[in-house]
């Protein structure tokens, strides 16, 4: 079975000559559909860099990036935007909601860019908010919501586009541990009940424990991979 996501000898370097930094130094990685992967590792080890490549936000300097068996490393900006819009959902450490924009409008955003008319996208956005337990908060601004609630709006936004993969870079990094666990239960349920593949970066062992597979980065290389569990 072809993996959903595959990195082959991927490198990513910043700068040139003397000042060159190799954020990724030849990474091989395969993630199959339906997995829940946690990525850990020290600061600066290349976790976010890898996530950006998987998330079609960035391109590898060399090596191959395959999604559903298709090579994507050479796509241009707009082609990558189409992949993001159709298959990917993002959850960021800093939530990244549009300020002064209601929860519902934030969740609608990916659907607007997909060109889905209001009559069809409103129910989708509402049900995504309901899935993360925010029914009744549709009209709230991010400023009127707690951190946990904001992160749930962000998850609803990621869900609204009906993604195959949710990419979460330190989703609980700005939350206290109680809210953090709530978010993890939500992600776990989405993975279990809806079959959405989840790739998540975290610094916390107990957060990583929600995943079925653990990958550890050190200095731009994968130094440990528990592999897919039988369940996956």
């Amino acid at each position: 079975m072809t993996p959903l996501i595959e990195l082959r000898a991927v490198t990513r370097s910043y700068g040139k000559g003397e000042a060159e930094v190799r954020a990724l130094d030849g990474v091989d990685l395969a993630i199959r559909a339906g997995e829940f992967v946690a990525i850990m590792g020290p600061s600066g080890s290349g976790k976010s860099t890898a996530m950006n490549i998987i998330g079609c936000l960035d391109r590898p300097s060399s090596g191959k990036f395959l999604f559903k068996g298709a090579e994507l490393q050479a796509l241009d900006n707009d082609q990558r935007a189409l992949i993001r819009r159709n298959y990917l959902g993002f959850v960021f450490q800093g939530f990244n909601l549009l300020p002064r924009t209601t929860a519902l409008e934030n969740v609608e955003l990916p659907l607007i860019y997909k060109g889905i008319p209001p009559a069809r996208r409103l129910p989708v956005a509402r049900s995504a908010l309901a899935k993360v337990g925010l029914q009744g908060r549709e009209g709230h601004d991010p400023a009127q919501l707690s951190g946990g609630q904001q992160q749930r709006v962000a998850i609803a936004r990621a869900l609204a586009g009906n993604p195959s993969v949710i990419l979460a870079d330190e989703p609980t990094g700005n939350l206290d541990s109680h809210r953090g666990h709530e978010i993890m239960q939500l992600l776990q349920a989405l993975n279990r009940d809806e079959g959405i593949t989840i790739v998540m970066v975290t610094h916390e062992e107990d957060i990583a424990a929600y995943a079925n597979r653990l990958i550890v980065f050190t200095d731009g290389l994968i130094t440990r991979d528990t592999g897919a569990k039988a369940a996956a």
Binding site: D58, N77, L82, R84, R85, F92, N96, T101, Y113
Partner: protein, 401 residues
Amino acid sequence: MLWETVRLAARAIIRNKLRSFLTVLGVVIGVAAVIAMVTVGQGSSAQVSANVASLGTNVLVLRPGRQTMGPGPREDAAQFTLKDAEALSNLSVAAAVAPTTTTAATVVFGSANQSTQVTGSTSDYLAASNWQLAKGRNFSEAEERGGAPVCILGQTVRKSLFGAGDPVGQSIRVKSVSCTVIGLFAAKGAGSFGQDQDDIVLMPIRTVQKRIEGKDDVERITVSLKKSVTAERGTRDIQNLMRDRRRIGIGKDDDFSVTNMAEIASMLTSINSVLTGLLSSVAAVSLLVGGIGIMNIMLVSVTERTREIGIRLAVGATSVQVLTQFLVEAVVLSVLGGVIGIAVGLGLAFGASRFMAIPFAPEVWVIALAFCFSACIGVVFGFFPARRAAKLDPIDALRHQ
């Protein structure tokens, strides 16, 4: 999709009211200035044309002295006399000849008084200066010859002395002369220099000379030419006659001037259009500045909203979608500014026309042009910032705080 983009843009505009207001302001000022200038210009052109009509065509004005018009020292030249006027009226080119003298005087009726311009002339004055009678009659020959104390009033004088009442047959005092009102002029409106032409009391010239001024001066002679006669021919005949009468030797310059009123009118018209053009181009520059203001604020906005753009890109917006959103935002803002500017400009023009007593003449093509131009400003000055937004790299944009 475009409608969606307009909605997105509208939301972004509403989300930041102050910034939107400041952006719009530049365009509002520019458009309002252009509209006001052009509309007032059109109004004053209409006024000038009306004045040209009120002057009457084919009218020549003779004055002693070489100078043709405007202020400045007058040469010491012999005054005209009533004999000159008589001689002129014998010319075959002349239809009406009105020797005229004017003096400032206070006119009194009962307890009402008004200081006004008293004009002394003949019954030909009406034809030569294109006046119509609303009521009453012109001077009779006997009244003219005998310097009878009779007068015809302009509407402004009538209003201040009699209100809406009928002055004909009443007796008023002009300086110290008691004088019977025999006629009332129809209103003429403001003159070429904004003066009130209806502020007039017309009396037989001998009456003014003998009883009011106490000297025999004729300040000017207005000659209206027969229809078939050209202004050039009329001027030449009049000059020849007057040179003879004033004994000006061959090779000497005239010591009087003959002014063609139609020439003055066309000069006024061209001065007016030059002024309008000048003011309008100043206004157009301010419109350009307004456009640069939009670009400036949109550029700042792109920097300020880098993270927002990053979010939009991350959830799948293509660069074209980001570009159109920012472009549409700029166009919506500038069109909004255009519409408000048109309203403000028309308001200003209306006020100014009232104030200057000229017709309020809004032109549809000016309004349409201002509208299209403001939309174009949005496109032109919005494009550069919008392209900059669209070219942002998603991760760089997201990392921006």
